[in-house]
Assembly symmetry: C2
Homo-oligomer: 345 residues x 2
């Protein structure tokens, strides 16, 4: 059975423009909070395929999105490469022993060995794929090597990125060594997700905007492209979505072997269309805070539909949905995207 | 005596391209740390004109920049509008009672009355102007109304800006009321800085990138332009620098009655030149972390000089200098900017 979401990723004609939301399996859903409470903590939830599958499916049933995204966290990868990970309340993820030297990099578990440890992710995918309707897509994902490496070096969220940036400018070879090692694991990780049953993969580069353009190209985009080419060569039927957040000013240099470019809300959609629309399907990009208001949501959905009328588009937010958004407004967004794009066909 | 920095702001020929650094009066200088220790805390330092003048002058003497920027903090404005301000170690500035309602806005001290309370700033300016060499410029500044209002509503630094953004989408009239009030105070504040002796003014919109383009134009840039027009009409001999950080993807809609556009490091200089270079002098934009390495500094200064060879330029960083940068590297940056631009004349 053909999946409208997969068709749209390949730029094929679809009866309406499909829609999903980043972080759609998340805290704004009371049903999610229930499962999470049962799990005890966030990492337990990631490690428990039954529960992870349950929250993956929730937004499809409750909100009506066209694709599920497997519930997990990008940091399970460095975790299984051997870095102890903790989610500290109010602080977010923390690696107790951040990477400080070449020796630390070399001590990490690499390649297929690390990817093989992520069995709970592949299990989640199998359970979801079994329960998910045939016409809905399942999205697998990974963090981009740059975003993962930044966490591994900073040890936690950071405002200044001063540790990792100091490395970029003073010890670039250490950074590249780490990035190469993470890239190799990520390739295996995505392959195994695909083998387990995902229909699409997305690479999240959440911290793309931490780097100036020439360094972004060298330390992040290059590795993302490498991963995309590798997957595309092996699995040409699997669409690849790239989501580098906050680099709207760098679009002139964006190219590579992928299908969909995820546009964040800080990049005007008309600009993304002008620069990338002839080569890639565009995904996005409603500012998530618009979900606080139905009026603001409607204004944006109508505007996006108008801009993308003669383009290839997937509706989404321009970043993750926030925990305090009313579920009703999320439902309104999803149904409006379908309604408006059906009307305009 | 003509000031090379002021001449450059107006796009006149100068013997070399002048240079200064955002946060140049700051923690990377041991001499600054000494004065700050004497002051006891950050706000005391802002409130003490003798000490504030001393740290204002330090980078001119030590690092050799072409302009001093008065030492102060953007938050003294909301503070004197009646909001209790504290600088909490490790957390940064905190307003004990953030703005929550129209009544809170109306209770703020407004207009010239608030601006008149900032006497310590005007005193600082007078002392600096007396001691500063005639050929060096003194820069006054303010936070943009949007950035100030964001602090006033969030109460402190924020990653999500969820309080202020919820207002933008659900109670825009409250936001506009607050922004209008802040704008009026800021106009008086800049006038009084100019009367006290500053040669140039810069408007810092540090949190520009928190808003999607249409909302940025409506809730921030509109007010910045209004302030610039007001000052320009009254003091045409005073150059105005606009520094909205992180909106490289919005440059197509940038216009207004100002002289210099401050380019942050996330906006490629070649792109800024293409979009704004025929209308404005461009300031910036070396990534501050390049100061960790002389080699990385040199690479960027040479590249900027090349891009701006036939343009009008002021050297600066693309954001503030970081506390752990070696003073030697800051000196190297400043002297290199002068040397390279002299060579290229």
């Amino acid at each position: 059975m053909s999946k409208i979401f997969v068709d749209a990723c390949f730029g094929k004609e679809t009866p309406y423009t499909p829609v999903w939301m980043m972080r759609q399996a998340g805290r704004y859903l009371p049903e999610y909070m229930e499962v999470r409470a049962k799990a005890g903590n966030f990492l337990n939830l990631c490690h428990n395929p039954q529960m992870a599958a349950e929250v993956t499916l929730q937004p499809v049933d409750i909100v009506g999105v066209d694709a599920a995204i497997m519930f997990s966290d990008i940091l399970v990868v460095p975790n299984e490469m051997g870095m102890e990970l903790d989610f500290v309340k109010g602080e977010g993820p923390v690696f107790a022993k951040p990477i400080k030297s070449i020796e630390d990099v070399d001590a990490l578990i690499g390649g297929e060995e690390a990817a093989d440890k992520l069995t709970y992710v592949y299990e989640t995918i199998k359970i979801v794929r079994e329960k998910l309707a045939d016409d809905k897509a399942l999205i697998g994902f990974t963090g981009a090597p740059w975003t993962l490496a930044t966490y591994m070096i900073e040890g936690q969220g950071t405002k200044t990125y001063s540790l990792v940036k100091k490395l970029i400018y003073t010890e670039p070879e250490l950074m590249h060594r780490l990035l190469e090692k993470v890239t190799e694991v990520v390739k295996y990780y995505l392959e195994k997700q695909i083998e387990a049953g995902v229909d699409v993969v997305q690479i999240f580069d959440s911290w793309a905007s931490a780097l100036e353009k020439p360094k972004y190209m060298e330390f992040s985009w290059k590795y993302m492209k490498d991963i995309a080419s590798h997957i595309k060569a092996k699995y040409p039927h699997i669409p690849i979505i790239m989501f580098p957040k906050g680099i709207g000013a760098y679009l002139d240099d964006i190219d590579g072997d992928f299908d969909v470019f995820g546009v964040d809300w800080g990049t005007p959609m008309a600009m993304a269309k002008e620069k990338l629309g002839d080569r890639y399907v565009l995904q996005g990009n409603m500012e998530p805070c618009r979900l606080y208001s139905k009026e603001a949501t409607k204004e944006c959905v109508e505007a996006l539909a108008k801009i993308m009328k003669d383009g290839r588009h997937i509706f989404n937010l321009g970043h993750g949905i926030l925990p305090d958004v009313p579920v009703e407004n999320a439902k309104y967004f999803v149904s409006l995207c379908k309604e408006v794009s059906k009307r305009d066909k």
